[in-house]
């Protein structure tokens, strides 16, 4: 109990240190990328109106890896859909600060839990799909799609169809398809949830590597605390029904993240405990 207390304090100290270093570093690094202001969203269902998100406020900086953790049905996916403009918020606004980039084809892209790859296209054609929609010439889009297939180490499978790939490979293709569009923000909706533990750990390591290579701003939604702590610069804890931001943790741990790092393990415990308390509270609320 005592040990945990101390670690909690360390985390706070780290948080302060991190904030300080961020503020003191070059302004480009701290440039605001995304602002979510007072966003609420309600759905009409057969059982009446369900408030999925209630007054969410978040700011996300350029190049930041943000993980959103919460119980299932807490509106995390809804938040991503709102950011991706697949749905519109009822209240509040989401502002994206774009930067000029010639290669930018789309601002906001989601990688879905089930890869959402198109079975009628080959791996290469899937990665090139968005490029084709945007009118890129054949030669150019094949070249670019191949580059991103190299990045996720699947160039050998370029001419396979989707059903010939394993679950982990599908998610890597989906990641390549998203990255090829060079989005401002990459939104990941529990992308590894359907995979086995081994594949999931490999993929999360690869994602960290790709993130440090490309410097993308990533918002990663998961219900797995360990995954969030291993990946994120920040972890944001959501509570369910309606989804609200409960707590925020800033993780100033060295990269690439080492799973054996005791501090990382303690952070997992700390956040897991908060998560469980929250989950318990919401269950009590529902039954009481």
């Amino acid at each position: 109990m005592n040990g945990l207390q101390i670690l909690k304090d360390t985390a706070v100290v780290d948080l302060e240190q991190n904030l300080r270093t961020k503020f003191l570093s070059i302004p480009e690094n701290t440039r605001l990328k995304l602002e979510i202001k007072d966003v609420s969203k309600t759905f009409n269902t057969r059982d009446g109106r369900i408030c999925a998100l209630n007054r969410i406020n978040l700011t996300i900086k350029e190049g930041e890896f943000t993980c959103v953790v919460g119980p299932s049905g807490c509106g995390k996916s809804t938040l991503l859909h709102l950011i991706a403009e697949l749905e519109a918020p009822d209240k509040g606004e989401i502002i994206l600060y774009s930067t000029e980039d010639e290669g930018r084809l789309v601002e906001r892209l989601i990688v879905f839990q089930e890869s959402a790859l198109f079975p009628w296209l080959t791996v290469l054609e899937n990665v090139a799909f968005g490029l084709r929609i945007k009118g890129m010439r054949y030669r150019e889009r094949v070249e670019r799609a191949m580059d991103y297939l190299h990045l996720v180490r699947l160039s050998k499978f370029a001419h396979c169809y989707i059903h010939e790939l394993s679950g982990g490979m599908k998610q890597r293709v989906a990641l390549a398809r998203a990255l090829a569009m060079n989005p401002e923000v990459l939104l990941m909706d529990e992308p590894f949830a359907a995979l086995d533990i081994q594949t999931r750990e490999n993929l999360s390591r690869e994602l960290e590597e790709i993130w440090s290579k490309t410097g993308k701003t990533i918002i990663f939604v998961t219900h797995n605390v360990e995954e969030a702590v291993t990946l994120g610069d920040r972890v944001i804890l959501f509570s369910g029904r309606p989804g609200t931001v409960q707590k925020e943790y800033r993780l100033n741990l060295s990269r690439p993240r080492q799973r054996e790092n005791p501090l990382l393990k303690e952070m997992i415990n700390l956040i897991s405990n908060d998560f469980k308390r929250l989950d318990g509270a919401s269950i009590n609320e529902a039954t009481g």
């Binding site: 991706a84 697949l86 084809l105 789309v106 906001r108 892209l109 989601i110 879905f112 089930e114 959402a116 790859l117 198109f118 079975p119 009628w120 296209l121 799909f129 968005g130 929609i133 945007k134 169809y161 989707i162 059903h163 010939e164 398809r177 569009m181």
Partner: protein
Amino acid sequence: MGSTAKKGGFFLLLILTWYALAHSGWWPEYMLPAPEAVCRNLVNGIGSGRYLMAIAVSIRRILLGYLISLGVGIPLGMLTGRLKWLDETVGSLLLGFQALPSIAWLPLSLLWFGLSEKAILFVVIMGALLSITLATNSGVKNVPPLYIRAGKNLGAKGKTLFTQVILPAAFPSIVIGMKQGWSFAWRSLMAGELLFINLGLGHLLMIGRELNDMAQVIAVMFILIVIGLLFDRLLFSRLEAVVRRRWGFDQV
């Protein structure tokens, strides 16, 4: 033993049994003609051009009716699949009509069009159109929402979303509808030709019956089987192979 050898052996056995039965004298020849009589009839019929003309007439009818059904059915299925109000009105009407065997349209068709090519074309179209339309409709309606979301997210919208995501996603279902539509059209055509129309293969069957020429009846039945298999091999098997290779349905 290879599967071709097995098949060949089986059919050889079948023909030998048929031969033995036909020559056993248990049945009169007008009820069970011998294989060589059927063969002779087939050769004569084709040699004289009589069967070839009937084949040409029947194939022309079915192709015309089927192509019209595709041209109308696929767009109609897409529209009813995407527009809710159209599905609730026209869509439900089509669903009701599908319960009606297409040959039941024949009396009405005769009254409207008279004893003409148009009348039989109408029956053929009523046979094929509905299954093509309904299969396209359900294919378009059952496109997983995830594909649509992913397509939109990657920048496809409106017409592009439709042609690049919804239509290809519905393709397996459309192929099933096309195949079913073809076999319905073929059946409707035969029924129509048997009942009233001169020329065509159905008519030859009827003449065979009237002349007690069972060899002709069986010869024409062979022709019908061969045409059916030919279209299946040339068109539908290939389309199905495309679907299997891409979607990987044969692995399930």
